[in-house]
Every structure is written in C-alpha cells, then in structure tokens.
Symmetry: C2
Subunit: 350 residues, 2 copies
C-alpha cells in the first residue's frame, strides 16, 4: 500500500513554501485534471503571472540546449535597459518543456534528466516536462495553467519550450510574453518558417548552429521576409547563436530583455496578457461545453433520437435542440463540479 | 425591385413536384442556413435516404469525367446481381460536386456548365455544385442534408464528388453508402493513398487514365496495401478505367452495384447509415453548442470575467462555469430558433 496522498491544500502550501516535490505533484494535477481542480486554478490565477518566454522551432534546431544556456544567463537577472531602466534580479527560473506528441512527462523523458544535470545543483532552477494526459482541453489549457502555478509558486520567469512545429506547438509557444523562434542554417529556406506561421508569432529570431554553412543566407532570408511583413512597432531582431558553445546567448538574452522593456513601455504587455486571458476563457468555455455534448451524445436519449431520425420521425437539428433543451442545470451544477478532483485524484505518480 | 421570394413551404412543394429551379433554391437554403431552416430539415429527413455514391481522389485524377460517365451508365439502372437479385430501375440521378476550397456554388463553376452539357437534355439528371457559405458546421453538415433533400425530391441515387483530398474532402466522400477512390498511374505510389486515409474509406478503387504507363504498378501497389490491411467481409476491388473514352465504366458501375448488394445482404447498409446519423447528430450538437460559446464569449459578462481574472479575483474555470450557469433557456429557446430562416433568407441568388 502506498501512503495516503496529501490533500490538495497541503500541496498548495508546500509548493508555495518552496517544496519542489509538492510543486511537481501540483503540476501533475494540472496536467491530468486541469481546471477541474478548482483549488489549484484559484491558487494559480490569484498571483500575478510570471514573465513567460516561449521557444519554438523545428526538431533538431537545438532549442533544448539553447533554453538550457538561456537559463544560465537569465539567472543573472534582467540587464539594465538602454532607456535607463535599472537592472533587475530574476530570482527563480522555471522551464516547461512541452511535447504534445509524447505521452510521457514529469521527468520521464531522458532529455529531461540529461538537461537537469547542468542546473541540478541550482535550487533556483526548476525544469519540468509536460505532455497531454487527458487534460480537459489538452495542452492549450494545461500549459497556461501550469505557467500560472509556477508564478504562484514563486517563479517570476518561466521558459516554455515546445518540441516540433505543429499547430499545437506554435500555439503553445506563442502564448508567451516574448516568443523566440529558433531556426538553423540547414533548416531550409525561410519560406518554411513563413508557412508554419512562425513569422507571425516571432518576437525574436535566432539562427542557431551559427557555426555551420548557410548562416548568412538564413539571416538574409529572414530579414527579407520581415521586410515584406506588415509594419509594426517592434521588428523582430535576427540573432545568431551557437548554443553548444554558448556563443551569442548573452545577446539573445539582451534581445529578450529589450522586447520585454518595449512591451512594458508601450503598454503592449498588458494588451497581450488580456488577449491571452480572453483566449483562455474562451477555450475553457469550449472545453466545458464540449463535455456537455459528449455527455449528451453518450446518453440513452441520444440513441433514441438517432433511432427516431432513422425512422424519419425527426431530423438531426430538431433532435439536437431537444437534447440541448433537456439538459438540466447546465455545467457546474452536476457533471463538472469543482470538487470532483480535490480529494480523489491528487496522489498517484508524479 | 426583385419579386418577393417564395415562401419555404412553396419551394418544398414545388421541388417535390419536380420543379428543378425550386430544388436549386432549396439547396441554396441548405448551403447557407443548414438545419436552421427547420422546415427543410424536417422535409429532408422524413423521406428515406437515397443511395449515395461518394467519389474522391487527387485533383487531376479525372473524377469529374468519371462521375459524368458513371451517371450515364447508372441511368440504365442497377444490374441484376450474381446472387439472382433482379435488375432495378434507378429513375432520377443527382450529382453533388463539393468543393470545400471554393466560395462559389450553384452552377457558378465553369466545370459545372461544361459538364451540364452532356446531360443537359436529360431531365432525369440533376447536377449541382456546392461550397461552404457560412453554413453552421460547414460542408460536413450541409452535404448530408443536401443529399437528404435530393432524396426527398425524388432522387433515389446521388453521386457526391469532392475536389481535392484534404481531411474535409475525405470526410464528405466517405459519408456515402459506397465510396469510390480514384487514383491515376501518375499519382505516385500507393503509400500516398494510405497516408491520406483513402485506404480506410475505399469500397472500390479505380485507377483512372488507364491508358497511361504505370497502370500495372499502381494496381499492384493498391493490391499489396489491401493485402496488408485488416481482413474484412468486403475487399475493395481495384478497377481500371479510361474515363475520357468510357472504357471500364460499365465494370465500375457493376462493382458499385456489387458493393451495394453486399451491404444490403449483410445488413451493413443499415449499420453504416445508423453510424452516419449518429455522427450527424453529434456534429449538429457540437455546432449548436459552439454557437452558444460564441454568444457567451461576445457578451458583456465575458468582458467582465476577463477583467476579474486579470485582477486575480477569478480563475478561468470558475469564470466559465459562472458564464455557463447564467445562460438562460439554452439553445432552441432564444438564439437558434427554427423560425429565423423560414421567411427571410429564402430568396436571393441560386
């Protein structure tokens, strides 16, 4: 018999007090149950959001190494701005490594363990991988909530790194305050970045593996694409790094800091975050409502309706309206209460 | 001033009496408004469904010419079966040419007019192209409803031809009683058909443009893929046609008829149709519910909720539950009534 899992309230207290094991468990709850754990969401969103830096790019572009190096530099704090803004300490730094294609998470990935080593002795750095585990709404909802949990647990800076460049990865990475898009000289022409929608989300471009041939071409392609895009008050800088040697990492961190200063001074940060909250709320709404539909489509009334349509007694539109009209109490009252998770599923593997 | 558009009830009567202009207008209503036109859906689903043959394949595979030829042969009726089933007259034949990528429909496509010529003098053949025009749920819902409208208007056989091989095209084409997948010798290896999900949906394979080199390789590739797929009580035959000369069309129609006889004798037809109705009802439910979410996300309460979350007073999950709890009457009562369409949007272009 395993020991009784701690209650959610205890986990929240411990995580806030700096207990990393409690924090990891809390993130597992988010991953598995998302907003169902009313208490976790309440805890997470009561605190101000951490500054979030998203990193995305094709597999093999060296994102993980880059993130790793960036964490080292970021630990030194935000540099003083050209506009006279003072340098700022950062304190604790967290990394969420998100892999939508993997069923594994919570340190189960080999890469995670390898990467942990570099910062293993630094209690101020927390690294955690995340995958979808049946979360309501998937990673698109689990990641923002996890970021807020990290913020509430005392991390003012969170890196969100995604594996792959699918729609989901791009979506997750772009839900950041500053989004860094990583390409490599061998990655092909810049058209691909444009096709994948990366051009629209990038606040900073990095050509990593900058010691390989084709760096100048890659930089030029990106600049040309930027020349063609709609003018904006921020033109993404195009930087070169060699993550494996650390070359260019200071400059990358400076660029992230410049973008942050720009967002703060123009009021863009607030707008971005509000737009993100709107999207989050819309997604939660859609997810809860989808649950209702699933429940409706699984019931006996649904089967009866299908049979009635098959007999020509009913059409699908009237049937759907009937089913929707008959649901009682709506969400929240019955099927999707905030209490279903709290006491029962908190334990388990982390 | 254009003349007052006829009421929906009149259109239904006229279409059922064989008025093709009324039928075309009815299909425009389906395309634009879908199940919102409660009367149309009621009319469409009260009659038994027509036999539906879906045709899909890559652009340039000659689907349109093939469908055209097939219509000519189908007009002769269902052939007598090997199992002693008697030949059967078909009567009227309809073709729905579906192009998810086109905003045009209703005969606006050049190809439509060209194709009309072949059967222009045959009052028993009705050809109509369809595209998405803001239908609730898009083509995935509009096409099944249009098929049922055609059935109710006296067409016992409907061909649904889709342009392209995207997810939507495949989905639309596979929602048929018999699905014909068209490939060409130049289309590349059979792996592509497998990748595009065509292998799973095909009841009959056609290698069209069978007078070109590579026919045997294409046939062999398909057979090998079929060897590898899960055993089933129906193995899709692989036929060769030259649609431009009419070669192989009789054999194709025979194969469709054999598949139909197989479905009828095994009870598979009923199962297929029930599964399809289930999916349709699920889609209508999802579409109606999505409308609810859109309405919720557009209101003042939504904005207030976002502001409360931004202030840390609320989390998105509690906010979503509040919004859902507060909606009154649900769907059907207010926003998605069955009467909103009837009198107002029936006229317009067809």
């Amino acid at each position: 018999m395993s020991p009784t899992p701690p209650a959610l309230a205890e986990l929240l207290d411990s995580a806030a007090a700096g207990d990393r094991v409690a924090l990891a468990r809390l993130l597992s709850v988010v991953e598995r149950c998302g907003g169902r754990s009313g208490e976790v969401a309440g805890y997470a969103y009561a605190a101000p959001p951490p500054y979030t830096v998203g990193l995305t790019g094709a597999p093999g572009s060296g994102k993980s190494t880059l993130t790793n190096e960036l964490v080292g530099v970021a630990r030194r704090g935000w540099p003083a701005g050209e506009d006279g803004a003072a340098a700022e300490a950062v304190g604790h730094v967290a990394v969420l490594a998100v892999d939508p294609s993997s069923p594994f998470s919570g340190g189960a990935i080999l890469g995670d363990r390898v990467r942990m080593q570099r910062h293993a002795t630094d209690p101020s750095v927390f690294i955690r991988s995340m995958a979808t585990r049946g979360h309501l709404g998937g990673l698109a909802l689990a990641v923002p909530e996890a970021v807020r949990v990290l913020g509430a647990a005392g991390f003012p800076l969170v890196f969100v790194e995604t594996v792959g460049v699918g729609q989901m990865e791009v979506e997750v990475a772009s839900a950041a305050d500053t989004t860094v898009v990583v390409v490599t000289p061998g990655w092909g022409d810049a058209m691909q970045a444009s096709k994948a929608g990366l051009l629209e989300i990038a606040d900073v471009f990095v050509v990593n593996k900058g010691d390989r041939p084709g760096v100048n071409e890659a930089r030029r392609d990106l600049q040309q694409m930027l020349d063609l895009s709609a003018p904006s008050d921020w033109r993404p800088p195009v930087l070169t790094t060699v993550a494996s040697t650390g070359a260019g990492i200071d400059e990358l961190w400076d660029a992230v800091a410049r973008h942050r200063a720009h967002l703060v001074s123009t009021g863009g940060l607030e707008l971005r975050r509000e737009a993100r909250l709107e999207q989050e709320l819309r997604r939660v709404l859609a997810a809860l409502v989808l649950e209702e539909v699933r429940a409706l489509a699984a019931g006996r009334r649904f089967e009866e309706a299908v049979r009635a349509i098959a007999k020509g007694e009913l059409d699908p539109y009237r049937a759907a309206e009937d089913l929707l009209r008959r649901r009682r109490g709506g969400v929240g009252g019955t099927s999707v209460g905030g209490t279903t998770v709290g006491g029962t599923t908190v334990g388990g593997t982390t």
